[in-house]
């Protein structure tokens, strides 16, 4: 098989397995384990296939086109470093699956477990094999997501849910930072491709955005690797099933941060900022984690803090800015994965077979489970850095580097060896405590279960990993040497230093530090033994900060309190502040350009003022202000005044050569007035209250503020309008429309030609909106429930008697009925002449709707509907179909949608007639406007019929 296929297979296998695992029945523990184990083993074998290639220091790439416009491909990239991690992920994954088969109880829904587990493995491989930064971040977030699901696997358990949520919030927030950092790095390097980024190290370190990019990337790495001060999520994640802890929280996910720092080491490391951030975070985690681990009573809690501490050690190594230290970091990553995974599994075995993980209750287990005890002791010794085991080797390298460090601060350089020796002594102490208190001493009393050895195959993964610890510890150069070599070469590139992997380097300072740490650890443990036996509840000498309480408080602030405050300030619960913001923003947005470019009036003002226009607008302005003033208590007056302002606007349109606008405005005015008149009936009665000084004073600030906004908006728009009107008109597309209206559009009314021909598509969209509004109004009013106090007939109506009511409107009613054919013909006339003279589908449609509503007003709803059969919904549909079909008709003759055509029609009596397609289009507009307007008016008019029915039933 080709490398491309193999790489894809490596990534796809776990995801395919995850999907497949879901289809097993809930109790298929064996089948699930077989499937997951087979997948993990197959992935391991596929990864192993690549060894000959990566051993030749080759970089395998396989690219697939994804978003070439953005310079993004889906790239899988395998080099020695990625290979090492892929082998760790799949190999330990396989062992953990085997272990989980025995760990999970028959009651647990295992399909979910193994499915998430495999998906997580796939996500890990995705990160490790990512060939570009965006892809890396994507899989990175995927690991956070699956780790959330795995930690919260026992979701009936509140601690599991809280731990899962905390892990997700911390790591995915870090992931978002990493995303931003990756974007910055990609921008600086000019590409997201990993190879090109790795080659751009000097460019990136010298760039002014280096520091923000570094901080963002490190936020991602440090949160994922549970480094100080983001370490607090890891102990809470221990609520997960132990296989998950063994895999995610020792071997796989928490190593991602370290992986990323090592991966980008050639690009980002080497600066003082790097040494300060990475080094200090690592040192703090190393020292504090080891110290806190001593005081944990939960076995997994102890291991969690120990993990924080060891990851701190690795981080510190990476932060030392020395290639040799980076090699040691990679080496310790492998060693830690082996001994810590086996310790977690041993802790799980103890939990499984005794029913508790509390160190204070456990004792003397060595006599009940001797093999497990021996294995755990060897692994713990490796963790403590006892010679002949792998932990010793990497710790020696670490000590040597701590001695050789040359950082930006002399005092830090000098203090470092002492600090790390103390921390190493702490790790000896907690390892010793683990062994001493769990496996030795008197037999345990009062355990939930009688302790015994686990099943043979549950122990096997621990045996395999412990064997690795011993073999690597004894023969480092022969076993792990080549692997470390190819990983280090791939990660560090040409900076890879010479180093020697050997058990014995002679009597030197690192050895002395090891001995000191071992002795010191034993001393610390002896000192604290009695205190620990009393059961201290918290870690002494550290400030009593409950990270979880802080986290909860921060989360509550971020997810509840701040959003609520923000919502109260700018939320959509209240309309008035929103509209106020909108108005203020509009004014500010207009002021911006004015401030930058200044305001200049042109010279084009006409010399004198037309008195008629001025008088019309004195009336118009009075109407507008009056409407604004009266709209609260005198709605009818306000409606009439607003109509007055509308009429003056209409007159202005006529004045300034816009007859089409004037016609439309006039008709819209009529229909709107009728509409609102119909609606007024359903609004609550508002009785003016007595004017008081106190009331006026209370409302004054609010009113003054609104008045200021209104004046600013009005004044601003007036100034703008005046400035534009006095300037010469620039050349616009209007020239084309005017010159081409007749030759190309076949009509002399330019406005109508623009609407139905040049911009026909806009008009199609517009009538669609109109139709939709009609339907929405109809739908809203079908279930209309008027307020209770509006149900009774209004006082004006009650004053009339039924007999005289008809007489009151007799004369106007007869006139209105007589007008129906007249208005109908007028509508038809306006429709027909629209293309050449003012008129058109809109105006004609509105006119027709007015004719219809007049019949409702004259005779009442029942009378009108007994005589007229209007189907507004059908009219809307027909209009839209006619308009769209006319547009589509152009396709028949291979012209674009809505292109204007002319068809010659032979009619009897009339003779030959040229029928332009735009006329048919306008007929569609006409039908739709009639339908939509009539639908709205009739639906509103019907309310009085419907609501009268109910209360008038005796």
């Amino acid at each position: 098989m080709s490398d491309d296929t193999l790489l894809i297979a490596l990534l796809a296998l776990p995801f395919a397995g995850a999907a497949g695992a879901l289809f097993f029945p809930a109790n298929a523990r064996n089948a699930e384990a077989w499937l997951a184990g087979a997948i993990a083993l197959a992935a391991l074998l596929v990864a192993a296939q690549f060894y000959p290639d990566v051993a030749r220091a080759e970089v395998l790439r396989s690219e697939f086109r994804w978003l070439p416009e953005l310079g993004l491909g889906f790239t899988l990239r395998m080099d020695g470093f990625a290979w090492l991690f892929a082998v760790l992920v799949t190999g330990i994954g396989f062992l953990v699956v085997l272990y989980a088969r025995y760990y999970m109880s028959p009651q647990d829904p295992v399909p979910r477990f193994f499915s998430f587990f495999l998906a997580f493995m796939g996500a890990m491989l995705g990160v490790v094999l990512a060939g570009n930064l965006i892809q890396l971040v994507f899989f990175w977030e995927l690991t956070s997501l699956f780790s959330f699901l795995l930690i919260g696997y026992w979701h009936h358990n509140a601690a599991a849910r809280d731990g899962a949520r905390m892990a997700l919030v911390v790591t995915s927030a870090g992931g978002l930072c990493l995303f931003a950092g990756a974007l910055l790095v990609g921008r600086i390097a000019g590409s997201y491709d990993l190879d090109r980024v790795l080659a751009a190290g000097d460019l990136i370190r010298a760039h002014e955005l280096y520091l923000p990019a570094l901080v963002l990337v490190l936020l991602g790495a440090l949160t994922k690797s549970a480094q100080f001060p983001f370490h607090f999520w890891l102990p809470h994640a221990m609520a997960a099933p132990t296989p998950v802890s063994a895999y995610l929280h020792s071997a796989a996910m928490v190593k991602l941060g370290v992986f990323l720092m090592a991966r980008l080491w050639p690009v980002l490391a080497g600066t003082d900022a790097w040494i300060w951030i990475v080094g200090v975070a690592g040192l703090c985690s190393f020292v504090l984690g080891a110290y806190a681990a001593i005081f944990q009573h939960d076995l997994k809690g102890l291991l969690a803090y120990s993990t924080i501490s060891h990851l701190g050690l690795i981080t510190l190594l990476l932060g030392l800015n020395s290639p040799l230290a980076a090699v040691a970091a990679i080496f310790h990553t492998m060693n830690h994965a082996t001994f810590k995974a086996s310790l977690f599994m041993a802790a799980g075995v103890i939990d499984h077979e005794t029913g508790t993980r509390d160190i204070r209750r456990l004792s003397g287990l060595a006599r009940f489970m001797p093999i497990t005890a021996t294995l755990a002791m060897v692994a713990a010794a490796a963790m403590a850095g006892v010679p002949l085991l792998n932990g010793f080797l990497s710790k020696e390298m670490f000590f040597a580097q701590a001695l050789a460090v040359e950082g930006p601060s002399q005092s830090m350089d000098r203090a470092l060896p002492y600090l790390v020796t103390v921390a190493a002594a702490f790790s000896v102490a907690y390892s010793l405590r683990f062994i001493r208190e769990v496996f030795f001493g008197p037999a345990p009393v009062d355990l939930p279960r009688a302790p015994h050895e686990p099943p043979r195959w549950m122990r096997f993964p621990i045996e395999a990993l412990v064997l690795a610890c011993v073999v690597v510890g004894l023969f480092p150069a022969a076993t792990v040497g080549p692997l470390l070599d190819l990983a280090a070469r791939a990660a560090l590139g040409p900076a890879t230093p010479e180093y020697s992997l050997a058990l014995w380097h002679g009597f030197n300072l690192p050895l002395a530090m090891s001995v000191l740490a071992l002795a010191g650890g034993v001393g610390v443990y002896r000192l604290l033994k009695t205190q620990l036996a009393r059961g201290v509840e918290r870690t002494p000498f550290l400030p009593p900060i409950d990270a979880r309480a802080v986290f909860d408080r921060v989360l509550a602030a971020v997810s509840r309190r701040w959003p609520r405050a923000l919502e109260a300030a700018v939320g959509t619960n209240r309309l008035q502040p929103q509209l106020r913001w909108l108005a203020v923003l509009a004014v500010v947005a207009a002021l911006g350009p004015l401030y930058r470019h200044g305001l200049a009036f042109g010279e084009g003002a006409s010399p004198d003022v037309d008195p008629a226009l001025a008088i019309a607008w004195v009336v118009g302005a009075a109407c507008a202000i009056g409407a604004a003033w009266q709209a609260k208590f005198h709605r009818l007056v306000a409606l009439v005044l607003a109509g007055g302002a509308g009429l003056v606007t209409c007159v202005t349109f006529v004045w300034f050569s816009a007859p089409d606008l004037a016609l439309t405005q006039l008709l819209v005015e009529i229909v709107t007035t009728v509409l609102i008149l119909l609606g007024l009936r359903w609004l609550p009665q508002r009785i003016p209250f007595a004017w008081t000084w106190a009331g006026a004073r209370a409302a004054a600030p609010r009113r003054l503020r609104d008045l200021a906004i209104a004046v600013a908006a009005g004044g601003g728009l007036a100034t703008l309008a005046y400035a534009v009107m006095t300037r010469p008109l620039p050349e616009t597309v209007s020239r084309y429309f005017v010159t081409q209206a007749y030759p190309a559009g076949g009509g002399t009314n330019v406005v109508n030609v623009i609407l139905v021909d040049f911009r026909g598509f806009d008009t199609l969209g517009e009538i669609t909106v109109l139709g939709a509004v009609g339907l929405v109004v109809y739908a809203l009013l079908r279930r209309f429930r008027p307020a209770r106090e509006s149900l009774d007939a209004p006082p004006q109506q009650r004053k009339q008697s039924a007999a005289t009511a008809a007489d009151d409107v007799l004369v106007p009613g007869v006139i209105m009925r007589l007008m129906f054919p007249v208005i109908g013909v007028l509508a038809l006339y306006l429709l027909l002449r629209g293309h050449n003279l003012p008129g058109g589908g809109f105006v004609a449609g509105l006119t027709m709707a007015v004719a219809l509503i007049l019949q409702y007003m004259a005779g009442g709803t029942r009378w009108a509907e007994a005589r007229l059969d209007i189907q507004p919904v059908r009219l809307i549909g027909a209009g839209l179909l006619i308009a769209a079909a006319t547009g589509a008709g152009a396709w028949v003759v291979a012209r674009p949608f809505l292109a204007a055509l002319a068809v010659d029609v032979e009619l009897p009596l009339v003779g030959k007639l040229q029928l332009p397609s735009v006329f048919v289009f306008d007929v569609g507009v006409f039908a739709l406007v009639v339908g939509a307007t009539a639908l709205v008016l009739v639906a509103l008019a019907h309310q009085s019929v419907r609501s009268h029915r109910a209360p008038q039933q005796p």
């Binding site: 507008a624 607003a642 300034f656 050569s657 819209v668 609004l683 005046y722 009107m725 209007s734 809203l780």
Partner: protein, 115 residues
């Protein structure tokens, strides 16, 4: 100075409209929007040239001189705007009637303000 008259008209209509827009009762908002739409329509037409006796209706056949007519483009835009604002007024009116029926108040927030 006809330009000044129109500009002032736009200003007064806008001011009245914005003032009503910021009021608490739904009916005031409907009237405010309608006043504001007059102002905006006038404003858009004013963006072309204000010409008396120059309706954009050309002679059939002859080549038309654009300088002889009022600008037809803002007029076409405004014609659309008038129709759409009619539709929106209708919709708003019905929404406020339904909201009044459901909430029992004609306050824009659907409930009377506290205190």
């Amino acid at each position: 100075m006809n330009e000044l008259v129109v500009a002032l008209a736009i200003g007064v209509l806008t001011g009245s409209g914005v003032w009503l827009l910021l009021r608490p009762r739904t009916f005031q908002v409907v009237i405010g929007l309608s006043l504001l739409s007059y102002a905006v329509n006038l404003f858009i037409v004013a963006m072309g040239n204000l010409r008396v006796d120059a309706a954009p209706i050309v002679q059939a056949g002859a080549g038309a001189d654009p300088a002889a007519f009022a600008d037809p483009l803002p007029q076409a835009l405004v014609l659309t705007a008038i129709v759409i604002s009619f539709a929106m007024t209708a919709l708003l009116l019905v929404v406020l009637l339904v909201a009044r029926g459901l909430a029992g108040t004609d306050h824009v927030d659907g409930r009377e303000p506290e205190a």
